[in-house]
């Protein structure tokens, strides 16, 4: 069954003053199955964030519609959790309070929401940092918190917009493993945007490739690697073959846009 249906969703940003409107996204159609992990891969500026923000309800589509469990999306809501590329923890709240933010908005009692938040802090490896403020944490830890904050809300789908884009390679690899581990345990529906080919393959069961700006869906490739996936899988023959194929797809697009 489809968790999320994107039906002919496109975006045209109105120009300022005399300037022409910009086409950020060509109408795209995409179905995401329940408990699936799909990555959206494309060169920067192709409209990946725009698509994800439309799904989140933070941006309105110029055409088409998004359905979650068959119901049209009209605005942002707790059923679609999001993790941003920029660090968006609330600086005035501690780590545990950040994770519990969504539950507080929903009116969950304090002891109960702190219990849930503590469990998630542990899941993402933040035990011992519960009472720190965000600025006391490294970028990687802040993104762990952001993931825990989105998941503590128990959303129907988790949206991630290049969440590890600003991290160094080692941290990024660890974060990918952590997220994949959570997905394997919790069976969540995930939509993950990235411009990194290896990242796109490693976590996904499906990679959706987008063309250069204005973006349209160019390819939709299944990743049939077994689970659980250790990081060593990145050197396996099947992984490397897939990577070569996707690098080829993306290269053509980067050349078109750069």
């Amino acid at each position: 069954m489809n968790k999320l249906s994107i039906e002919g969703v496109g975006k045209l940003f109105a120009g300022r003053g005399e300037s022409q409107p910009t086409r950020a996204l060509m109408p795209a159609t995409l179905d995401i199955a329940d408990k699936d992990f799909i990555t959206i891969l494309g060169p920067s500026g192709c409209g990946k964030s725009t698509l994800l923000r439309i799904v989140a309800g933070l941006e309105t589509a110029s055409e088409g519609r998004v359905l979650l469990d068959g119901r049209p999306v009209t605005g942002p809501g707790a059923d679609r959790g999001m993790v941003f590329q920029s660090y968006t923890l609330f600086p005035w709240l501690t780590i545990i309070e950040n994770i519990a933010f969504g539950l507080r908005e929903r009116g969950v009692a304090e002891t109960q929401r702190l219990d849930v938040a503590r469990r998630w802090a542990q899941q993402v490896g933040l035990k011992g940092f519960e009472n720190h403020y965000p600025k006391q944490l490294s970028g990687g830890m802040q993104q762990r918190t952001a993931i825990a904050r989105a998941l503590a809300n128990d959303p129907e789908i988790l949206l991630l917009d290049e969440p590890f884009g600003a991290l160094d390679n080692q941290t990024r690899a660890l974060m990918q493993e952590m997220l994949l581990g959570i997905w394997e345990r919790e069976a969540k529906t995930v939509m993950f945007v990235t411009h990194d080919v290896e990242e796109a393959i490693f976590m996904a069961s499906r990679v959706v490739v987008m063309s250069a700006r204005p973006g349209r869906i160019k390819a939709d490739i299944a990743v049939d690697l077994p689970h659980p996936r250790p990081y060593t899988i990145k050197t396996s023959a099947a992984f490397v073959a897939l990577k070569e194929r996707l690098v080829e797809e993306i290269r053509a697009e980067v050349m078109a846009s750069a």
């Binding site: 942002p76 707790a78 968006t88 600086p91 933010f101 908005e105 965000p134």
Partner: protein
């Protein structure tokens, strides 16, 4: 000296105290050395003597109390109205569009120029003093608070919405806590300005307060008392500034660098 190289805490204190000492030294040399006529500028020693007399004989402590009361009263009144209005303006753009042009204009109206008008309307009692402080600080507060509230990072608001926040809750749980340290800083600054207005208000048509004492002393050509009054104002400002900074650090530990 290397640019931006920090100084240690003890060095910082000794530099700060050092300049005060230098200032008093230059003043002492200029007056006690006879370089400046006594009529125009009292020496530090005369100033201290006059100050002592003011406190013990003339009941100057009462004037200080009255002045503090006026500043705090007018300022609290202004803040009590400026806070909700500034927050509404920062959060809701139509509200801002409605009030902002007028407030921007009113901010440039000099509070001291209103004094004759206020005397006409409210007499020379306490109401008039409070109104001067109010006019002097209210418009500044509103504008600066609106900017602080509206200056929230867009992605923090987006994050709150994806966590299920309602519009009201975004204001109460994101915009407000986000702006709180800056608002506290604005209150500290504008309170400092309120001090200049109160003295001006007391210079004209007043029978008590630090400003009134200064006008009286001018008539008697007592520069020692005038300087003592000015120094008292400076000291009170310094203390209130220090208290504000201390409270802000306690209240907003997440904001300090």
């Amino acid at each position: 000296m290397k640019p931006l190289q920090p100084v240690s805490a003890p060095a910082r204190v000794s530099y700060g105290v050092g300049f005060f000492a230098l200032f008093v030294a230059v003043w002492a040399v200029a007056t006690l050395g006879g370089f400046v006529p006594k009529l125009f500028l009292a020496s530090p020693i005369t100033m201290v003597e006059e100050g002592w007399a003011l406190m013990t004989v003339h009941g100057f402590a009462y004037d200080i109390g009255i002045t503090i009361w006026r500043v705090v009263g007018g300022f609290v009144l202004a803040a009590a109205i400026a806070l909700p209005l500034g927050i509404m303006m920062g959060a809701y753009k139509p509200v801002e569009a409605f009030f902002e042009p007028f407030v921007s204009f009113a901010r440039y109206l000099p509070a001291s120029a209103f004094i004759p008008l206020l005397i006409l309307w409210a007499g020379i009692g306490e109401t008039q003093k409070l109104l001067v402080i109010f006019i002097g600080s209210f418009f500044q507060l509103v504008l600066m608070i609106a900017v602080a509230v509206g200056g929230v990072r867009r992605d923090l608001v987006d994050a709150a919405y994806t966590l299920g926040s309602s519009d009201r809750s975004v204001v109460a749980r994101v915009l407000l806590p986000n702006a709180a340290p800056e608002i506290a800083e604005i209150l500290r600054m504008v309170l400092g300005w309120a001090w200049t207005y109160v003295i001006v208000a007391e210079l004209i048509g007043s029978s008590s307060g630090i400003g009134h004492m200064i006008t009286d002393s001018q008539a008697l050509l007592n520069t020692g008392q005038i300087i003592f009054g000015i120094i008292v104002i400076g000291l009170i400002g310094l203390i209130s500034d220090f208290l504000f900074k201390w409270a802000n650090q306690r209240l907003f530990p997440w904001a300090s660098a």
